[in-house]
Amino acid sequence: MRIALFLALAAVTTLARGDDEIAQWLIKINQAAYELDYRGTFVYVHEDQIEVMMVARKTERGAVRERIYSINGSPREIIRDEEQVWCFLPEKKIGVHQYRQVSKNSFPHIFSTHLSKLGDSYRITLGELSRIANRSVRLIRIRPTDVYRYGYDLWADQETGLLLKVSLMDTTSDYVEHYLFTDIQIGGHIADKDLAPMTPKEELIWLNTGPRRPPQSQNSAKWSAHTVPAGFMLSHRMNRKSSTQKTSVEHLVYSDGLAAVSVFAEQLPDSHTKPLNGASRMGAVNAFGTVIDKHQITVVGEVPPTTVKMIAMSVKRAE
């Protein structure tokens, strides 16, 4: 964490030449997401649907535990710590457990290492003060400087920096998703019961996904994207093996600090499934597939279709 903070502070020094207050806000938001304990209710609005959920987060002796659960529709909840995730589906009498792939140590790195360059890719301005969930919030408007990424409106808690509302907008400035807290308690005592599942684990049949994944190999890079929008940098590269170790998927993550794009390269199976060739879309998420040297290349991210296509078409085997 100290290293991450150092990187963030080093980055803000650069960004501060433009607007110190904005940079401080971005740092504050980043730290709040990582460090704060809270519990509250929020709504997630997407397309024509509204979901109401409760969330609780608590750090104890350096270990984070989080819980999110739906309060309308069928009961669904997810409990997560830094290494594992449990999904409770009590109506089905099923629970699913898995080990996470991402180390807790890698959490803040994307944001902090890119912070100094955000100003190249986005026009960031501070907006007015307003009130959300009975707390004072500051609006931060983030608008892309090109057509390769989406825009954001962030409403951050004035006192702590925790995001209390996020709106994502597409390239035509139409909002496509909103997240909004309707009530929240930040800090203070988060009771253990707030992080406990509604349904005892022993009442469910658990589908476990086996042992944690082996360490990711970093030394077998075979693919890379040769054209990415300005500001995007390779932030992660890993290889994932199938359970029989017969096939592998190379996964590269490019990020500009806010948006992230994944490039997946996998050998085409001897199958009837037609490879993905071309574009696909699900809400704000776009994907583009192509085939190179008997490998399926798929690019996925919350970025405009132009971006995933451009990246996919530039993927080549590493020399």
Binding site: F42, I78, L89, T244, T247, S262, F264, M282
Partner: protein, 184 residues
């Protein structure tokens, strides 16, 4: 399952239980390969089997919904999901799945993950049934996608989601998407 031919179902069941000889196995697998309905049935058996062998990665809250849907199809006469699960667990528990020691790799992309089912060492009868794993109880949201590709894209999306979470801004957002999958 209701629409599966009883004879075919029994053959697939015998294949799953490792009760067929080599030539019968090849014949049944060829039938499965050439018949979309059998292929779907085969895929369904393997999906459920994998659940109980703990082979299937968890990717989203959507996955259990899919399992439930498959179970509802598979055992419509059982009175509740738990009963169905118990029945299926008995059928597909590791001690009974010697069938899976006999075959080579079939790669399935289901609910956000790849997993491999061992079917035969004979490369002549390897095939991929991922095209037949389709959503039936959950609305499809990917646009312009062939059957089977949607599952692959869901898999990639959730893998990708772990990294958008790391940006700090999107941690909450990723959670919300997972939980809301179930109702879409």
């Amino acid at each position: 399952m209701h629409d599966g031919n009883k004879q075919h179902r029994e053959k697939i069941s015998a294949l799953m239980d490792g009760e067929l000889g080599h030539s019968e196995r090849v014949t049944v697998l060829r039938d499965v390969r050439s018949n979309a309905r059998l292929s779907e049935l085969w895929s369904r058996y393997h999906l459920i089997g994998s659940m109980f062998r703990s082979e299937l990665p968890f990717y989203s809250a959507r996955l259990p919904q899919r399992v439930g849907d498959l179970i509802d199809k598979e055992h419509p006469h059982h009175s509740n999901t738990l009963e169905r699960l118990s029945s299926l667990r008995n059928r597909y528990s590791p001690n009974l799945t010697r069938n899976l020691a006999v075959a080579a790799s079939i790669m399935l992309a289901v609910a956000g993950g790849w997993y491999t089912v061992q079917l035969t060492d004979d490369p002549a009868i390897n095939f991929d049934t991922s095209r037949t794993i389709t959503e039936t109880g959950v609305a499809t949201k990917w646009e312009t996608i062939e059957p089977g590709q949607e599952d692959q894209l869901n898999a990639l999306l959730v893998e990708h989601g772990e990294f958008t979470t790391m940006s700090g801004l999107n941690g909450l957002i990723s959670y919300a998407k997972f939980v809301s999958y179930d109702t879409q």
